[in-house]
């Protein structure tokens, strides 16, 4: 009898716990998003084109918090986000785009052959002084940098720790709604926070204390955006999972429109 009671109590307890957990949320339900990033190489991968998705490979910051340090690096979402996005660029614009990405770094001069570069998880980068100098030179010659997928106060500070060495003399400004960068192809006045898949099932869209999406930029002397900073959002995830029904279309749509606008802006300004 005692044994029978014990088993019944255990079953009841498990049911109660699982019910409670189910009521709290589906935290332990498996994510519908494949984060491996693996994707087949397209047949036209070697085509020479006008534009390619140039992803910047950078050194990540090393901090006392090992878990945090490991969380972000240059290859997040690589290469699926890049290729998913490029397919949209090809379909929605006349940009002659290569189907596969180009990985570039700030250690060789090859970067000057790629006037548009993308940095993911820039809240984790830690550029050397030489890399800062090269990035500054690159941008002042006419290159364009888009940063994405970094969130909250702490990652902003890490981002700025390098960026303020690139441009100690240029402030980061909010890009106003009427800036051509938001209208060059698509009018994107109505912008919102684009969440990463970590937010699934998207009951909230922010990470850490990055509650509001921030559209910032660093301008050159002629008032042109050189560095387009997408803070507190994850456009890369929106591109990467654009083919996944579990990722809301409205976020993907905005991420594509923003990305394409930034490319065409970089090719016109």
């Amino acid at each position: 009898m005692r044994r029978k009671f014990a088993v019944s109590a255990l079953v009841f307890g498990l049911l109660a716990v699982s019910t409670l957990l189910a009521q709290r949320g589906r935290r332990f339900q498996s994510s519908p998003f494949d984060e491996s990033g693996e994707v087949a190489t397209p047949k036209d991968a070697n085509e020479k084109t006008e534009w390619a998705f140039a992803r910047l490979r950078y050194p990540s910051i090393q901090s006392g918090n090992q878990m945090w340090s490991m969380r972000g690096n240059w290859a997040i979402d690589y290469p699926k986000a890049d290729r998913q996005f490029v397919s949209g660029v090809r379909r929605l614009s006349r940009v002659h785009a290569r189907s596969v990405e180009q990985v570039v770094d700030l250690d060789s001069d090859d970067i000057f052959n790629w006037p548009w570069i993308y940095v993911v998880e820039s809240g984790h980068w830690d550029l050397t002084d030489a890399q800062c100098a090269k990035l500054r030179e690159y941008l002042l010659r006419g290159g364009f940098l888009m940063t994405d997928d970094f969130h909250g106060t702490y990652e902003w500070e890490v981002f700025m720790a390098s960026m303020s060495r690139v441009f100690p003399d240029r402030p980061v400004k909010d890009i106003p709604n009427n800036d051509p960068i938001f209208h060059v192809i698509f009018d994107t006045d109505q912008r919102f926070q684009v969440p990463g898949t970590v937010n699934w099932p998207f009951t909230k869209t922010y990470e850490y204390d990055g509650y509001e999406a921030e559209w910032k930029g660093i301008y050159d002397d002629k008032g042109r955006v050189m560095v387009a900073i997408c803070h507190n959002m994850d456009l890369g995830d929106a591109w990467e999972h654009a083919d996944n029904p579990a990722y809301p279309e409205k976020y993907t749509g905005l991420a594509y429109r923003i990305g394409i606008n930034y490319i065409v802006y970089a090719m016109t300004h």
Binding site: E50, F112, N113, E137, G142, V184, I185, M267, T268
Partner: protein, 748 residues
């Protein structure tokens, strides 16, 4: 010697004709010659000489020649020449009275030399035979009483005008000859053909006495400066300076262009061979809009005999207008971005762009308002022709309908604009241009093949024509410029545009993996010009060079200026020379076109002229009977100084357009140039009119020679020639020769 042998000077022979004064017919002389020669031959044959036939023939020839010469003398050869009748003719003595005659040579001034020649007996000799009238010459002719009236203070010499005046004023007088004493320094740059023809028609010989050194020993001189008379603000201009040195060959001096005291450009030049003209080019910025009075100057060398000819002035109208260039691009490209950036730096150009960002969207930049190009590429001449230049990028020809294609062609042909075709995957024959109506305006014959655009790097080389082109001038020094181009980064891509057409100019070539091919080709097309730049990869010049480097910007700004800066407006005023040197007459020509750039023949065209000392005038221009839309007129510039002409064309009460011209008159400057005696001019003048060129030392014989003239009151004089010493000497020589030969051959 000639006169000793032939009894009379050579020029008397050149003026006269040979006659036989004996009265017997010429045919008889020939017959007697034949009989004498035959008789002598018969006698020689009868004597059966023992020597060879060759020796017999030689002796016969000598004897026959003696006989013929004697017979000729019997027929009394004579010279018939027209000569002025004593005391019945006027000889005009004209003395150059300009400031160049005050230049000092070895024996005092040239004017002193002229007075010396006249006072040394020439005037008296002339007065013995003729009535002598003395004139001083500057911009016109003035009769003077004596040589003391000559001061050398005049700022101008116009020999042609002076002689015209003389012939016109003395048409009823028996002027037998003109004697001109001058250094040949003519303010108008020489005597035109019409003036010489006019003087010749009066058959008055002009004898010239050249004064001044024929060659200076130490001198630098600017012989000419070729420079644009109009330019856009901040335009890069080229001045080609022609200079010559005497006695400084191989030495170095400084050449500079100044605007007031501000030096715009300067360079060290190595002076060429003595007496040879050399050309040096200088590049400089036109600066802000307005009138630019430039001085081109050579630094004086030690011991220079004349330093006043080391600098010249030029007048440039720097225009405030901003030419507009329309750039249509078919797809987002880095080239597009970096061209825009390069041209944005140029405050004197407006670049309007339309870019096809998607299949149905056009992104416009640089438009004046939201309506501009709202419906895409212009469909009317009025809309398209408001631009001065047009760039067509990677846009397939089919994007333009037939009307638009014809408008693009007319843009260059009729409007006079510049059209530049850029390389790209949708242009040239890849874009179907070889089969379009626009193919004829390309400076290349396209291959018709597809796949001519390749994304492989290519390096750039200048051609010989490119070395002289302002489009490709990155460094002022031509050699350094060539070297600079060799260090330019490679282009990102290239296109096999085709073969340059006859008349096209290849300014740069590309060295590609597929061999060398033209990169930048230009040609004139109708009133305008076209070009092909067979790449879309020059953006690497910007991205792969330090940010401070300006070569990419410089190239594209210069390219745009070539494209658009010379495109005419609807009303364009012009004159052959905006800098009048001692010249009072300014010819004006105004071309008037409507908004479609069709010539307007019924406009009211006027020039409102303002000058120094409140000078103001209005000139109404009249239609040119030959050229539609052209109006011509002339303004007499009263005094030296700067002038502005505001030109306005009105048709049916509506203003068609306006233009502004600047011009300047300066007096007394040209006298400083060509400081050596212009012997060539004086010789030519004498030769063309039947006179002679004289050196001052020979002038003593002039009074006799002047008598031989066909002008004025003349008589025909006959001078015996049978008694010329040459005949006697010939006879003697021939007889002596025969005797020597016979002696040598043993016949004597």
């Amino acid at each position: 010697m000639f006169e000793f042998l032939f009894k009379y000077p050579a020029h008397v022979f050149s003026k006269g004709t040979i006659v036989l004064a004996g009265g017997w017919p010429v045919w008889l002389l020939i017959l007697v010659w034949a009989i004498a020669a035959a008789g002598l031959g018969w006698v020689m044959w009868q004597s059966k000489p023992t020597w060879s036939r060759m020796r017999s023939a030689s002796l016969w020839a000598l004897e026959a020649a003696v006989a013929c010469l004697l017979l000729l003398m019997l027929w009394q050869p004579a010279l018939s020449v027209s000569a002025l009748k004593p005391q019945q003719n006027i000889v005009a003595v004209v003395v150059d009275n300009s400031s160049s005659m005050k230049r000092t040579d070895a024996d005092g001034t040239r004017l002193d030399a002229a007075k010396k020649v006249l006072n040394a007996g020439l005037l008296k000799d002339l007065e013995k035979r003729f009535q002598v009238r003395l004139y001083s010459l500057d911009s016109s002719l003035h009769r003077i009483a004596d040589v003391n009236a000559l001061t050398g203070d005049a700022t101008v010499t116009k020999i042609g005008d002076g002689l015209r005046q003389l012939t016109a004023e003395s048409s009823g007088l028996p002027v037998g000859a003109v004697l001109l004493l001058s250094d040949g320094a003519d303010s108008s740059g020489g005597i035109d053909r019409q003036a010489i023809t006019e003087i010749r028609s009066h058959r008055i010989p002009v004898h010239t006495i050249g004064l001044g050194k024929e060659q200076l020993s130490k001198d630098l001189e600017i012989r000419g400066v070729d420079i644009a008379t109009r330019a856009l603000a901040d335009a890069r201009l080229s001045a080609v300076v022609r200079l010559r040195n005497r006695g400084f060959g191989g030495q170095r001096t400084k050449l500079e262009i100044r605007d007031g005291s501000k030096v715009l450009a300067a360079k060290e030049v190595t002076l060429g061979k003595d007496g040879q003209e050399q050309a040096e080019s200088l590049l400089f910025s036109a600066g802000l809009a307005g009138a630019r009075h430039l001085t081109v100057a050579l630094k004086a060398m030690d011991g220079e005999e004349n330093q006043a000819n080391n600098s010249v002035s030029r007048f440039i109208a720097v225009e405030a207008r901003k030419p507009k260039v329309l750039y249509v691009e078919g797809e987002p490209k880095w080239e597009f971005k970096f061209i825009r950036r390069a041209v944005e730096e140029d405050r004197s150009l407006v670049l309007v762009t339309m870019l096809r960002t998607t299949q149905n969207k056009i992104y416009r930049q640089g438009v004046a308002n939201n309506k501009d190009l709202e419906n895409g590429f212009p469909t009317t001449a009025e809309e398209l022709f408001q631009y001065d230049g047009l760039i067509i990028g990677s846009v397939e020809s089919g994007y333009f309908n037939m009307n638009q294609q014809e408008l693009i062609r007319q843009f260059a042909d009729r409007r006079g604009g510049g059209v530049l075709f850029l390389g790209g995957r949708n242009t040239m024959s890849d874009g179907g241009y070889d089969k379009s109506a626009m193919s004829e305006m390309f400076p290349v014959s396209m291959t018709g093949a597809k796949g001519t655009f390749e994304r492989e790097v290519a390096s750039v080389e200048l051609t010989p024509a490119g070395r002289d082109s302002l489009i490709l001038r990155l460094v002022e020094d031509p050699e350094k410029n060539v070297a600079r181009w060799k260090t330019m980064p490679k282009l990102a891509d290239f296109q096999a545009a085709g073969t340059p057409k006859p008349g096209a100019l290849v300014l740069a070539e590309m060295v590609t993996p597929k061999g060398k091919m033209p990169l930048l080709i230009t040609e004139n097309y109708g009133r305008g010009r076209t070009a092909v730049f067979a790449t879309s990869g020059s953006w690497r010049w910007q991205m792969t060079q330090p940010k401070e480097d300006q070569t990419h910007e410089m190239f594209w700004q210069q390219m745009m200026r070539w494209l658009a800066s010379t495109s005419p407006g609807q009303v364009v005023g012009s004159t052959p020379n905006a800098l009048l040197s001692d010249e009072g007459k300014l010819p004006l020509r105004i071309d008037v076109r409507d908004k479609n750039f069709i010539p307007v023949a019924d406009a009211d065209v006027r020039a409102h002229i303002m000058g120094p000392q409140s000078t103001a005038a209005e000139v109404k221009l009249t239609p040119d009977p030959v050229i539609p839309g052209a109006y011509i007129g002339e303004y007499t510039v009263p005094i030296a100084g700067d002038y502005v002409a505001e030109i306005e064309a009105i048709r049916n009460g509506q203003r068609v357009g306006a233009d502004t011209m600047l011009f300047r008159r300066e007096d007394g400057v040209t006298e400083n140039f060509y400081s050596e005696q212009n012997k060539e001019l004086l010789e030519k003048l004498a030769e063309e009119t039947g006179g002679r060129y004289w050196k001052p030392a020979d002038a003593g014989k002039l009074a006799t020679d002047v008598a031989y003239s066909e002008a004025g009151v003349t008589s025909r004089e006959t001078y015996d020639l049978w008694n010329m010493p040459i005949f006697f000497l010939l006879l003697l020589a021939m007889r002596a020769g025969e005797w020597l030969l016979r002696r040598k051959w043993g016949a004597v």
